[in-house]
């Protein structure tokens, strides 16, 4: 759906076609998201779950009813037909493999934090983990009694194999955890029979998420027989995993998953999973995907639906719901190498001149909530937000005052210019095909004009846009980071100086901020919150990035036949199906309401 603007325009013009959404809609490439969690048995990582204490069953919600049956249909625009490959390390197909068939060691919930701000963590294939006091050694205790879906026993040796296989084929190391790929991990080894020890070159608390949550464990007895340097190209058409579902049948148009009767969480008293069949159709575009939801033929949606109230909800308001949780910012990135934008007064004026609530309403139909200048996504990360901070979001008078007191003079065309006569006139680069961004930017353009700043929007294909941003070839850019389960990840991507050329698009460079980020990995939970508060202060005084709205996950669900959905009251996992491994938590929570 993204592709050429030409086609995009045609479709947009076509009445039937849906605008496509912001990056969270991206089908085949799940944004880096995290996993959510579930269970009450969890402990924050730093305090560590004593090995072996976690109970075997992590999933079913309190209201599960023991019924097994039903067919759940997933609705998520994939943009292409299925290739029927299930390599969990191939980003093009991993969304249909991880969470269904393959599972990680632990589950980190981006949407739920403990009292101290850390993510809620649920042990999964591991029963728990412990950090050494210097956060350089992480020990997982591996769960007993888990079986691969071909009947062989799962063991700690499979875990050790998986991480070393990634080391041997760098194309698998998508999160760059190994030292050879720029990460801190130096060794993964077996300890005793059921423990796996990870050794890092430095304090590595922040890598827990990548190591524990983002890496699916693969069976050694199958993968070790393949060419170890070409594992990334393995088709894996008959995936063998530990997951709740078995891939039963795949065609270009549909993948059919059946309940794994030998799933390790399954007991006679409390069956897991409870839904007998899950169908995952491929949708080439939003229109048919949205129609299928509207007609009630699919129950679990991850779709951007224009006019969702009348198109979807109103057809059955008692059973149909949506929830768009936010975990990221969609921001304006000022190029700090630009002679005008390097002036903090200009950046401050831009931030003050944008009425974020208005952009949210008119640009995003209110689906994406307004962001704030601290960069903390609210209400998701309330625990990290410094409530004492002066965080004025919209004040037109203050914006123009800021410019005037910095020496800018308004010209006859209503646009400010500096003392040398250089006008505050900028280009904003954005991604073509993201129609909601385009409408947000047209609102922003009007608002900035009212403040005496002229901007022009320039749409670019992602393959041009991304390198342009990385090389600093822009004035202002509208975009987002991949983020992670806590504000730290997104802020670090935005502001760390060594990320210049990669994700630090503004090219912000401050040794003090670098030190803050570097201290974070070895800090206690309370100190981590303190560090983030200091960075929020930097955000509201230096305006290195200007958050505008919050990026959300599109999610619709239908309670006619199934219960156990993630909701705002019980945000036990990130709800869209492409969020892996959160999908495994959702799949093990859902249950049929009728036999």
């Amino acid at each position: 759906m993204r592709g050429s603007r030409y086609l995009g325009l045609l479709v947009a013009a076509s009445v039937v076609a849906a605008a496509c959404g912001s990056s969270t809609v991206t089908p085949s490439a799940p944004p880096p998201t995290q996993a959510p969690t579930v269970a009450p048995t969890t402990a924050p990582v730093e305090t560590a779950t004593p090995a072996g204490t976690a109970s075997a069953v992590v999933s079913p919600g309190p209201s599960s009813n023991g019924i097994i049956g039903g067919k759940l249909v997933i609705d998520n625009e994939s943009g292409s037909t299925w290739t029927c490959q299930f390599n969990p390390f191939n980003p093009s197909v991993s969304g249909t493999a991880v969470g269904f068939v393959y599972e990680p060691l632990e589950f980190v919930n981006a949407l739920q934090t403990n009292a101290d701000g850390s993510n809620k963590v649920t042990p999964w294939l591991a029963t728990g983990s412990t950090w050494s006091p210097d956060f350089k050694t992480l020990t997982f205790t591996i769960r007993d009694g888990v079986k691969w879906s071909d009947g062989q026993a799962f063991s700690a040796a499979d875990v050790v194999y998986t991480y070393n296989a990634i080391k041997g084929d760098p194309a698998l190391d998508l999160n760059a955890i190994w030292s050879a790929d720029g990460g801190p991990l130096t060794n993964v080894a077996l300890q005793g029979t059921n423990q796996v020890v990870f050794t890092f070159s430095g304090p590595a608390q922040t890598y827990f998420y990548y190591v524990a949550d983002q890496i699916p464990i693969i069976p050694q007895h199958i993968w070790s027989k393949l060419d170890q340097t070409k594992l990334d190209a393995e088709a894996n058409t008959a995936p063998i995993g530990t997951g709740a579902y078995l891939m039963s049948d795949c065609s270009q148009n549909n993948i059919k998953y059946l309940r794994n009767p030998n799933y390790w969480q399954n007991t006679a008293a409390a069956p897991v999973p409870q839904i007998a069949e899950v169908d995952y159709p491929s949708f080439l575009s939003n229109t048919p995907a949205n129609l299928m939801l509207a007609q009630g033929q699919a129950q679990w949606g991850a779709q951007y639906i224009p006019n969702i109230q009348s198109f979807y909800i109103d057809k059955d308001p008692t059973h149909r719901h949506y929830w768009f949780p936010a975990t990221l910012n969609v921001s304006l990135f000022p190029n700090l190498k630009n002679s005008l934008l390097s002036d903090v007064a200009v950046r401050k004026a831009i931030s003050l001149a944008i009425n974020r609530a208005d952009v949210s309403q008119r640009g995003e139909s209110g689906y994406e909530p307004p962001a704030n200048q601290t960069g903390i996504v609210l209400p998701t990360y309330n625990a990290w937000y410094d409530k004492t901070i002066d965080n004025t979001t919209f004040d037109l008078a203050m914006a123009t005052n800021t410019l005037e007191s910095a020496g800018y003079k308004k010209g006859s065309d209503g646009i400010y210019a500096n003392s040398a006569g250089k006008k505050l006139s900028f280009t904003i680069k954005t991604i073509s095909g993201y129609t909601d961004w385009d409408s947000s930017l047209s609102v922003i353009t009007q608002e900035l004009k009212a403040a005496g700043i002229a901007v022009k929007v320039q749409d670019e294909d992602t393959t041009v846009y991304t390198p342009d941003l990385q090389k600093g070839n822009f004035d202002l850019a509208y975009g987002e980071e991949t983020g992670g389960p806590l504000p730290y990840y997104e802020l670090r991507q935005m502001l760390l100086s060594s990320n210049i050329g990669q994700t630090n698009y503004s090219q912000y460079n401050s040794p003090a901020v670098d030190t803050l980020f570097n201290n974070y990995a070895s800090a206690s939970a309370a100190d981590q919150v303190g560090i983030i508060h200091q960075i929020e202060q930097v955000m509201v005084t230096e305006y290195p990035v200007i958050p505008v709205v919050e990026g959300v996950d599109w999610y619709q669900y239908d309670t006619t036949d199934f219960g156990g959905w993630p909701t705002p009251d019980d945000p036990y996992a990130q709800p869209p199906v492409w969020a892996t491994p959160d999908n495994m938590v959702v799949l093990t929570h859902l249950y049929p309401l009728h036999p």
Partner: protein, 323 residues
């Protein structure tokens, strides 16, 4: 024989030129597929990027000429490597090929048949009711962009009336089988895209056929047939249409290029998973191997059709052999 040899020589030369252009164009486009794949994931590790680039054959260190000759060799052997989603290119193409072949093949034949018949009839009754309505109407439609016709049909028959499915090649979730139910499912999904292609291409057949007929009807041998008192339908079909159809046969091959191009837009609009849609996704994903292979398939299809048309007209019309 000399004619055949000359045609074959020209065919090989054209093919080589097409292959070379095919090699150059995708490489002149900005961006590469590894970046495209990874830009959807962002925050990516440079080691993974390099590994992907090598895998996709985007090895910047390699001499362009070496790459070019490797490419020519691969074209001959059908080795196109892996797509951006790491499926062998040929597998991907062969999966989608039957759908497009059936859709485009059948609609082209239908459009040709309808266009030719209407052309014959309207020339036979020049100025009649049929002649004053159908040819102008279809001609106007045929000048409209394919996607516009597709969207109008989609809006009317699928969205507003709900008679026909809105997308895909068969009902999602159903399993392909050799049953009547599945066959009718496939047909109902093919009606709208097929109708679009028919409506858009039939117009040009009508016009050329009608004009040829008008010219042929003025020939002496037609007057002779009338004088002999042959029945009207026999004169129309055996004497006039049979001769008038010759230029259309050649045009039939040329038309294929237009239909294949149109099928990209049609398949996109109807989310029909054929070659056209594959071409579209391949282009947007900067999937070089896929683009090259598809371009080659399209080029070959058109060149072969032109070659066949050349031979056919040589057989049917001896005059072309000497020229």
């Amino acid at each position: 024989m000399r004619y055949v040899a000359r045609r074959m020589g020209l065919f090989v030369l054209t093919l080589w030129a097409a292959l070379t252009v095919n090699f150059l164009i995708p490489r002149l486009m900005p961006g590469d597929e590894a970046t495209a794949v990874l830009s959807r994931m962002k925050g990516v590790n440079p080691a993974a990027l390099h590994a992907l680039q090598v895998e996709f054959g985007i090895n910047t260190d390699q001499n362009v000429l070496v790459t070019y000759f490797q490419y020519l060799g691969n074209c001959l052997t059908g080795q196109f490597g892996l797509t951006a989603s790491r499926v062998p290119v040929m597998t991907d193409i062969l999966d989608k090929l039957p759908w497009t072949l059936a859709l485009v093949g059948i609609t082209t034949v239908i459009a040709f048949a309808i266009g030719t018949m209407v052309g014959v009839l309207s020339a036979w009754r020049r100025g009649g009711r049929l002649d004053s309505i159908l040819p102008p109407l279809l001609f106007i439609v045929s000048t409209m962009p394919v996607f516009f016709v597709a969207l109008v049909l989609l809006y009317v028959f699928a969205v507003t009336l709900g008679w026909l499915p809105i997308a895909s090649n068969y009902e999602l979730g159903s399993t392909p089988s050799l049953t009547l139910g599945f066959a009718s499912d496939v047909v109902s999904h093919a009606i709208l895209p097929g109708l679009t292609l028919v409506v858009v291409t039939a117009g040009s057949w009508i016009y050329t056929m009608r004009n040829n007929m008008v010219t042929t009807l003025a020939e002496d041998y037609v007057r002779m047939a009338r004088a002999k008192g042959l029945p009207g339908w026999q004169i129309m079909l055996d004497y006039a249409a049979r001769n008038a159809i010759l230029p259309n046969l050649t045009g039939f091959a040329m038309q294929l290029g237009y239909v294949l191009g149109g099928s990209i837009l049609v398949e996109y609009t109807f989310s029909y998973p054929g070659l056209g849609y594959l071409f579209y996704t391949g282009t947007t994903n900067h999937d070089l191997p896929l683009q090259s292979a598809l371009f080659l398939v399209y080029t070959l299809a058109i060149l072969i059709c032109v070659l066949i048309a050349d031979f056919a007209s040589a057989i049917l019309d001896p005059r072309t052999r000497d020229s």
